[in-house]
Subunit: 457 residues, 2 copies
């Protein structure tokens, strides 16, 4: 690695299986439940997801084969390179060695296609012809549009109207890949129509978009719904990131002291970290850090509870750290990190003490992102900037301690579609807004009366 | 290559030298001249470019070492992958094997940084602290902003006002990399002020922006000007593309029957093709095709002449195919292919009969780009779509002839910053406009009275 900038794997070295951390959890996860506290079974999910994905969702098999047709498409950009960020190290004058896994190399620019391709494949195998989903900032809608086109499915994306109007380029990206993107609330569903009747100028919300996408899926022929994060099978599809990274570290005879990922719903964090957590469970000494924005501090300030995935409480109750399903974060630019809950599997490993969590302020993250772009070249997504800021904190600490620490971060995506956030940062228009503790408490209180998950058995 | 999608080189396999085709030309190139027909010497260029780059410009040495600090930065994204576009082949049902070199993997998203990094380096070596340039659509301004920041120089970009106003994201990209982008005409130069006095609402032109950038360079301390295409040294820096591609083909025991690149100023076309033209000069049987838009058919309809690089005739006269320096193409979306002239080296190999040229209509190119995005995933830049459309023509011909032809195209950049063109295409707002032959003839006539280059000696 003397003068090597990146560790590149050949396609022949790509992992052939996903890692399912459910097989290695010290304590079993509580199941999803209904509002009556009764476990939700696979058959309850059948109208929404195809049975082969539901089987993955509840599987405890450690290794699950990646189907050949999925591998074939993943090869369009995978294996992704593991970079040594030498120029960033030099700028920080740190003895730390900083590595980052570049997931921005996918056609959609982030890690999201890793699961979108797999979900499109399993739906197709199950005979499904069309997928629906919701999208906020548009990252997931783009990934699913592309994946459906590459797998030969139709794709319908309900995009929150305010984003639809303010971020026209994401919508155009979906269109290039044949995705049918519609502003939500729309007049094509009962859920949308009823909202529009009350407020014809409604700018929409993720919760409304979810309602529309699920309604469309369960009422249309050969149609199912796809989710971009949170669920077990989604996180598992992302473990190819960490599995590749481990191979890459092996090649250069290095093992990280700390693994860092930003965490919104939890999928990119799980992708990089679960294979390392597997080592940790089996005795390896490695720190794992999930990074969230101060404005949406799910893991750091939320209680562990049964909560709904959406504000309308249409989804089953999931065992997770949550700020409450009524929590509305300040408008921060990292749209992918604004979710009120955290994936049950990520919540569980936090509960098991296997990971640490930190909440970082927005300005520090943008400052870190700019330093990254100006030393390493690549422009990070606002979400990714949280992992970078945490990495810089760790590198500074290594400098203070005079220690040669090896840091591995997941560089979850590029920010070329999110430049308005940088512009606002440079113009001094971004502020670190203190969390409204009262509003947070009120949202947390909204979970009262819901079933309570059992203590770690 | 059985189930391999891309050929990936390790950094240790990166070319260590650029290829200078001037060493292999069957006939010598005519020199640049002044309006009096007298050759322009290196000293005439010294106020504009640093002497080490001027030396490269006139060098006839076949191989020129790539300096270590340039290699170090190129490694941030190089070697770039050579892809086999199997899914596109399948969609076309062609027996042709289609390979593409993906230059969209650079942080700026195109091949442009290959020379921007080198130019920033040589200027810095020469003691220069600041570079100026012009940019139309913004691709080059972004590449130079990034490269200056990575090399520790300041960068000033004069961006045509209409693009500055209509394409704010390119400007934001430059800002992330510390580039100082200003709308042209500006009130910071004599050239800009004199234009604004006549027309305070002037929307600018590339010619005006060039004037401002050159004036700034020659009147400011420790400042020089940088050009993104056309000149010999710029084209040479791009040959790393073709040199890598040749290594990649060697690895899989394949040699292309035809090499295709789009051609605006000529730099990405030269980058992919010159190393193959070297083989052709030495007896190899390979076709080389330059693709331009029907709306700006420099190689296919322009005469070979001495012409100026800009409408104000501030630059030396270059021996090149040209539509005349007063030619104004219809507003086509491939902003990088609207230049009235063609790089002298590309013009020369055309004159030598070493390459073919074709002019393609815009709608065919967008159709090709959409098919590419929907089969291979990556969204092409509008410029790149011309190479894709030509590739598809060759693949269709191979199908008709029942031949297994190997096609290599340069995929010069991604189109994530150019989605408005796709939107216009889908909305039926793009038209193939017939070339205004009268206007073209008038522009060609504007070259009358200029010195005439000698016949091939």
């Amino acid at each position: 690695m003397s003068d090597q900038v990146k560790v590149v794997l050949q396609e022949s070295e790509m992992p052939r299986q996903w890692y399912n951390i459910a097989a290695d959890l010290p304590h079993p996860m509580p199941p999803p439940v209904g509002k009556d506290g009764k476990p939700i079974g696979p058959e309850d999910l059948a109208p929404v997801f195809p049975m082969n994905l539901i089987e993955q969702e509840v599987s405890t098999k450690r290794w699950i084969d990646i189907p050949e047709p999925v591998l074939e498409i993943l090869k369009l950009w995978r294996p992704s390179p593991l970079y040594r960020a030498k120029r960033l190290e030099q700028a920080l004058k740190t003895p730390a060695k900083i590595y980052y896994k570049n997931e921005g190399v996918s056609p959609a620019g982030s890690h999201k296609p890793n699961t979108a391709i797999a979900q499109a494949y399993y739906n197709k195998e199950f005979g499904i012809k069309r997928l629906t989903t919701e999208t906020g900032a548009g990252q997931w809608g783009c990934a699913l549009s592309m994946s459906c086109k590459l797998m030969g499915l139709e794709c319908k994306v309900y995009m929150v109207r305010i984003s639809f109007d303010q971020k026209p380029f994401r919508k155009m990206m979906m269109r290039v890949w044949g995705g049918d993107c519609i502003a939500s609330p729309s007049n094509t569903t009962n859920a949308g129509r009823s909202i529009l009747q009350q407020d014809p100028n409604c700018t929409g919300s993720l919760a409304i978009a979810i309602s529309e996408a699920i309604e469309d899926a369960v009422t249309s022929k050969d149609t199912r719904y796809a989710l971009g994060s949170v669920l077990n099978h989604v996180l598992m599809h992302q473990t190819i990131i960490g599995l590749e990274a481990k191979k890459q570290f092996e090649k250069i005879g290095v093992y990280p002291d700390v693994v860092i990922g930003c965490a919104g719903g939890g999928s990119n964090f799980a992708g990089i970290s679960f294979p390392f957590i597997c080592d940790k469970i089996h005795g390896k000494n490695v720190r794992i850090v999930a990074v969230e924005p101060e404005g949406c501090p799910t893991l750091t300030k939320g209680p562990f509870a049964y909560d709904s995935g959406d504000v309308a409480m249409m989804t089953p109750l999931l065992p997770m750290y949550s700020l409450g399903h009524t929590f509305i974060p300040e408008p921060i630019h990292a749209g992918g990190l604004r979710y009120h809950g955290m994936a049950p599997l990520v919540s569980h490993v936090q509960r098991e003490g296997l990971i640490e969590a930190a909440a970082l302020p927005q300005l520090e993250c943008y400052k870190a992102a700019v330093l990254f772009a100006q030393t390493e070249g690549f422009v990070p997504a606002p979400e990714t900037s949280h992992a970078i800021a945490m990495t810089i904190r760790e590198a500074e600490k290594a400098k203070q301690e005079g220690k040669e620490r090896v840091i591995c971060m997941n560089w979850s995506g590029h920010g070329l579609m999110d430049l308005a956030g940088y512009e606002a940062f440079f113009d001094g228009k971004l502020k670190d807004v203190a969390l409204d503790e009262k509003a947070l408490q009120k949202s947390i209180d909204s979970m009262k009366g819901l079933p309570v998950p059992p203590p770690l058995a």
